[in-house]
């Protein structure tokens, strides 16, 4: 029974970074909802603002260097209105975060056990032995074979996959309602990737948590996600259920991404390559479709001046109107000069 209860409601969130005295939007006007028991994947190229969104939710930006607007409603509290101490009540306890690089995300001078139980030091009143038992339980849960031994080891003694498991153990130690996983499998090889994703899914089922999975790997998305939000240049350009996104993608960017993915039944040996690059923060166009320069064959009249989200099916939204007649240059009926 899935009653659509959004426990996380991101409304109109923009985050701007200070570069040479000026603020530039890294993400602008993001609207997203996450429900319990759901994996929401955020996909996009590097530099699209996926990680910025994650760290904005966690409040990990230096307030002196960033300007954040909008609201992040988490179970009735606006996180962005909290001070440092208030935020610390949520971090680790109700929101857990899994970081991209397992090699550097652990403190090299602390034993694994201490790093995991540190979360519990601040959010629980468990006794020392209870914490130890919980650490062992967590290490078991994330699939570490010899938890007693691992608990007493230092990060440099573990492999990359084991470290990522430890990081997941830290993130889930206090059974958070929301887990933000920022490219959790990027630094790992493919077999380990699959195991880590399994661990994530199991945990989600057990805790009824909502997961925001940030990745640029569409294979990972297809395997795990319930809903998908596609980000480009700091904006969400399309969102919908995983089936909607994979079976009937609408936005040119989503379609380009899917087309640049290697597929077994693809007879053509050449992979599609999206021209150009994600614009840098300083060069972000203030109006027009931000993806337009990378699909130059689409006439300017096809784009909106200030692209907005359009609902194409229940729960499936697309930015800009250019999706309507979009075709690739090598497809039939393409609009070429």
């Amino acid at each position: 029974m899935k009653t659509a209860s959004n426990f996380l409601d991101i409304k109109d969130v923009s985050t701007a970074f200070k570069i040479n005295g000026h603020y530039y939007d890294a993400i602008s006007h993001i609207n997203l909802q996450v429900q319990h028991d759901e994996i929401l994947a955020i996909v996009g190229e590097s530099g699209c603002g996926k990680s910025t969104l994650a760290t904005t939710i966690m409040g990990l930006h230096d307030p002196a260097e960033t300007k954040i607007s909008g609201s992040v409603d988490f179970e009735g509290t606006d996180l962005l209105g909290l001070d440092e101490d208030g935020y610390n009540q949520f971090r680790g306890a109700k929101i857990g975060m899994i970081f991209q690089d397992p090699l550097s995300a652990l403190n090299p001078l602390k034993r694994i056990e201490d790093q995991i139980s540190e979360v519990m030091d601040y959010h629980t009143s468990l006794s020392k032995t209870a914490k130890h038992d919980r650490v062992i339980e967590l290490l078991n849960q994330v699939g570490i074979v010899n938890p007693e031994r691992t608990a007493h080891q230092y990060p440099h003694e573990l492999s990359g996959g084991m470290r990522q498991r430890v990081i997941i153990a830290i993130a889930i130690a206090c059974k958070p309602d929301l887990i933000i996983a920022d490219e959790p499998t990027t630094a790992l090889d493919v077999t380990i990737q699959a195991q880590i994703l399994d661990v994530l899914r199991d945990i989600q089922r057990e805790n009824h948590a909502g997961i925001i999975l940030i990745t640029h790997d569409l294979g990972v998305v297809a395997e795990t996600a319930d809903r998908v939000a596609v980000m480009y240049a700091g904006q969400i350009v399309e969102q919908g259920t995983a089936e909607q996104i994979f079976n009937s993608p609408e936005h040119p960017y989503t379609r380009s991404l899917l087309r640049s993915m290697p597929q077994r039944d693809n007879e053509n040996d050449d992979l599609y390559v999206i021209q150009g690059n994600v614009p840098s923060l300083q060069k972000m166009p203030s109006k027009g479709d931000r993806f337009a320069p990378r699909i130059p064959w689409v006439p300017a009249s096809a784009h909106e001046e200030h692209p907005t989200m359009h609902e194409v099916a229940p729960g499936h939204e697309v930015r800009c109107t250019c999706y309507k007649d979009f075709t690739f240059p090598d497809e039939k009926g393409s609009v070429t000069e």
Partner: protein, 319 residues
Amino acid sequence: MWKTILRRFLIMIPEVIILSLLVFLLAKAMPGDPFTGSINPKADPQQIKHLMRMNGLYDPWYQQYWNWVVHLFHGNLGNSYQYQEPVTRLIEGRAGNTLWLALFTMILTYVFALPMGVFAGRHEGKLPDTIIRVYTYVTYCIPFFVILVIGIWIFGYVLGWFPTTGSISSDASGWLHTVGSRFYHILLPGLLGALFGTVNIVQYLRSEVIDAKHSDYVRTARSKGVPNRDIYLHHIFRNSLLPIAAFAGYSITGLLNGSIFTETVFSYPGMGLLFVNSISYRDYTVITALVLIYGILNLLGTLLSDIILSIVDPRIRIE
């Protein structure tokens, strides 16, 4: 960890042997002989040669080296020509003074430098950081003996707050008075040494704190909900101390070498002053003994650095 220390200690043995060989050979290479000046100048050269032979100075060098080493192990470093006293007794009376001053200076240096380094790193780019940086660079730019002379002039002569010579006042009696007087005598040189010796520690620590502040593991800690104060205490401070710890042993040897300046300017009867004096009097036995001791202390300093590092950094321990 004991394995690391033991292994590190064993490495030191060949180092000490090479050091002693070098010191011995250099001493042998120095011109002159130990008797010409110390007995009747009208003495027959034949007699001197006889003395030399009696003392084994015509033996092959390895034989002499072996004798010297055997004497070393018996605690016999020879006699000083200047003082006509066994070198061991000369050094015995001064080593304590030097170590006492060096230790005091080191503790003070860390007391000043550690908070400054962390504070500067934490408030990177802001006013307190700028003040601390300017301060350390200014102290770094002024030669240390100039500071000593100016310090002695202002606080010793003009204000008269501190004694300017010696290690203890001549009328000190009783346990408490003795310790108090000794402490009073090292206060000014120790303070000057510490206030003007912070630059290395502060700059290292500052840049380490800045690095750690932006590191991934600190971000992980923040995502756990650890308050800022505890992040500095449990994560940033300890990790930033690694290079400082590695530095600690060397800094002791640096202080011992620096004692040569301090002790000369303050006429403080320690090994540094003895060293300077014995060089001007060509007191060879004392010079070789002191060079050997300073060399061994340097080796012990690096040993200490490695031991400290293996305690604080699990990555370099040998399992």
